[in-house]
């Protein structure tokens, strides 16, 4: 039976399948780029999403909040100073009778600007500085590190007072003051991580395949350094926010009656024993902001980790 069925087969009965090797090898499904993948994983992390929404919400409140009641951040009401609940002052008033609700959201806006400035300075100066220093090593590293030591060693306060003589107070002065030493910690961290990564097998492999210096640094080493960079930014931001308050204190920060969260916390601290609510609100907003930044940072770290990619 079997043999008869094979004998009945004639070549005409067969038809070549129109197959193309390239087509067989083609990838099914849509291609996912690295950043699409990052976004997908970031989105599926609930904490990170909540953090991002909170930062957005604080950002929106910084713009809308001061307009929500009839007071301005500088308006003084001497009939209602240091009130916890005073009519339509929703969060009470400070020692000059200024509306705290308005001042806190106004201050949150200033502090957000400073946070982004600090992060930008870290990324623009600190990261490349540390990368070059660690990657080149030897003499270059030696000199670059000695410069960092000098920057660490010269008292910050003296430099700030001298800046004060040359500059008007304001965001520009703050940015300049931060760009003198604000990036140094980042540069040190990145250098340490690059030193560690430099001697690992995957770098050797990439190098023997002929990868250029730039490609080695950007494509191979930098992704492995990124998580430490994110953590460092999480520390740079609050440091910058308090540094701004310190600058305000010595007369270089924003001009009172303008306010930032750091300034409000400083002011509130003066009244801590008598009116603790005045430090509570700005500290709560700052903590919330920092908490959101950390959630986003953790989420970004997990999303960017190439080893977790599936």
């Amino acid at each position: 039976m079997a043999s008869s069925s094979t004998e009945n087969l004639t070549p005409e009965m067969f038809e070549p399948v129109d197959s193309d090797v390239n087509e067989q090898e083609a990838l099914r499904g849509t291609r996912v780029s690295f950043w699409q993948d990052v976004w997908f994983r970031f989105r599926s992390n609930k904490g990170a999403l909540i953090g991002m929404l909170l930062i957005l919400a604080i950002g929106v409140m910084a713009i809308v909040g001061p307009l929500m009641n009839s007071y301005s951040y500088s308006e003084q009401d001497y009939s209602a100073t240091n009130q916890i609940f005073a009519g339509d002052h929703w969060l009470g008033t400070d020692k000059f009778g200024r509306d705290l609700w308005t001042r806190i959201w106004y201050g949150a806006g200033i502090s957000l600007i400073i946070a982004f400035l600090a992060a930008a300075i870290d990324l623009i100066i600190g990261v490349p500085y540390g990368c070059i220093s660690g990657y080149c090593g030897g003499k270059v590293d030696n000199w670059m590190q000695r410069i960092i030591e000098v920057l660490y060693g010269i008292p910050n306060l003296i430099m700030m007072i001298l800046l004060l003589i040359w500059l008007d107070r304001g965001i520009f002065a703050i940015a300049l003051a931060m760009s003198i030493t604000g990036w140094v910690a980042m540069a040190r961290i990145v250098r340490g991580q690059i030193l560690k990564a430099k001697n690992q097998e995957y770098v050797l492999a990439a190098r023997s395949l002929g990868a250029s210096h730039g490609r080695l640094l950007l494509k191979h080493m930098f992704p492995n350094v990124l998580s430490a960079v994110i953590v460092t930014i999480m520390f740079t931001i609050p440091t910058a926010i308090f540094f701004e308050a310190f600058l305000g204190f010595i007369g270089l920060g924003i001009r009172p009656p303008q306010a930032s969260l750091g300034v409000l916390i400083n002011d509130g601290f003066e009244m801590l024993r008598l009116f603790p609510y005045q430090i509570f609100y700005p500290a709560a907003v700052l903590s919330l902001l920092m908490f959101s930044f950390n959630l986003v940072g953790d989420g970004l770290r997990d999303a960017l980790d190439p080893k977790l990619r599936r």
């Binding site: 090593g137 030897g138 590293d141 030696n142 590190q145 000695r146 960092i148 030591e149 000098v150 660490y152 060693g153 010269i154 008292p155 306060l157 003296i158 430099m159 007072i161 001298l162 003589i165 910690a185 040190r188 961290i189 250098r191 340490g192 991580q193 030193l195 560690k196 430099k198 001697n199 690992q200 492995n224 998580s227 430490a228 994110i230 953590v231 460092t232 999480m234 520390f235 609050p238 308090f242 916390i265 601290f269 801590l272 024993r273 430090i279 500290a283 700052l286 903590s287 902001l289 920092m290 908490f291 950390n294 959630l295 953790d298 770290r301 980790d305 080893k307 977790l308």
Partner: protein, 309 residues
């Protein structure tokens, strides 16, 4: 290695000299003068005072004189305290600041390591979230607020520990604790991220496959490879803490050296500014050197002594 250490020591001296030089000339541009009530002093007396402190000379000459004195180990006499030498002022405040700083660093590092390990090993659980909350509070609540709260609640309201002043070990607990929050936050965050990365490495699987216990794999294999960033930040952080914090010392009335620097700049006490700067600068430079040495010990693949041999 020996050659590397000697080389670094020479660089350290050069770096400190650069710090001294830059600070010296910047400092002479500060507004104000070291003399109190400058306008009220009769000109001849003013001249005599300036001459006694060598301030009548042009700044470059003063600079050379200062360097000359420094070579003999003389930091000069402070302007604000009649006749007190700067060395004795530093040595008076340093022990208290050193004790607080070291206690804060040791406690903060150990506790931070502990929290960081827990967070990484239990990633995504409530324990991980709890350490995040602690870290966020540690970095976003400034140390002076922590200090004031600790002093008020633990010290005054509950009366468990002395709320201020200096003397026994009990006096040093609260200020050290206030200083240690930043250390805890820093160490725990860096350890958490680095450890997460290391735990995903293949050699961790190998160690587990060999049958090593969880604790051995973590302490022997993972932790060591997660230490680099923590060590990097600990260097300058230690120097900052042992040279004193102005606000924490003020809140707890600790006779440390944190106040000294800010005060000297306020009154243009040139010799005191230089003395503290040299002291701080030398410690910073030394800490960077130690960190670089530690890199090599933690990860022997890191060779800073240049691969010429």
């Amino acid at each position: 290695m020996g050659r590397y250490i000697i080389q670094r020591l020479i660089y350290m001296l050069i770096t400190i000299w650069v710090i001294i030089t830059v600070t010296f000339f910047l400092m002479h541009n500060l507004p104000g003068s070291p003399l109190k009530n400058e306008h009220k002093i009769p000109p001849e007396i003013k001249e005599a005072i300036l001459k006694q402190y060598g301030l009548d000379q042009p700044v470059p000459v003063q600079y050379l004189q200062y360097l000359g004195n420094l070579m003999t180990g003389d930091l000069g006499a402070s302007f604000q305290y009649n006749g007190r030498s700067v060395t004795s002022l530093i040595m008076e405040g340093f022990p208290a600041s050193l004790q607080l700083g070291i206690q804060a660093i040791v406690f903060g590092t150990l506790f931070g390591l502990f929290l960081g390990c827990i967070a990484a090993l239990k990633q995504g659980t409530w324990m991980d979230n709890a350490t995040t909350v602690i870290a966020v509070l540690g970095i976003s609540v400034p140390s002076f607020v922590m200090a004031a709260l600790l002093s008020y609640f633990v010290g005054v309201k509950w009366g468990i520990l002395p709320p201020g002043l200096w003397g026994s070990f009990a006096h040093s607990i609260l200020p050290s604790l206030a200083l240690s929050f930043l250390v805890i936050a820093t160490i725990s965050r860096y350890i958490r991220t680095e450890l997460l990365e290391v735990l995903g490495q293949d050699y961790m699987k190998t160690a587990k496959a060999k049958g090593l216990s969880r604790s051995t794999t973590v302490t022997r294999h993972a932790l060591r490879n997660a230490l680099i960033p923590a060590v990097t930040v600990l260097g300058p952080l230690t120097v900052q803490l042992i040279t004193g914090s102005l606000v924490v010392e003020k809140i707890f009335s600790v006779p440390g050296m944190g106040w000294m620097f800010v005060n000297s700049i306020k009154v243009n006490d040139y010799t005191a500014i230089m003395g503290v700067t040299i002291f701080y600068g030398a410690l910073i430079v030394l800490s960077m050197f130690i960190v670089d040495l530690l890199y090599g010990m933690i990860d022997p693949r890191i060779r800073l002594a240049d691969g010429k041999e």
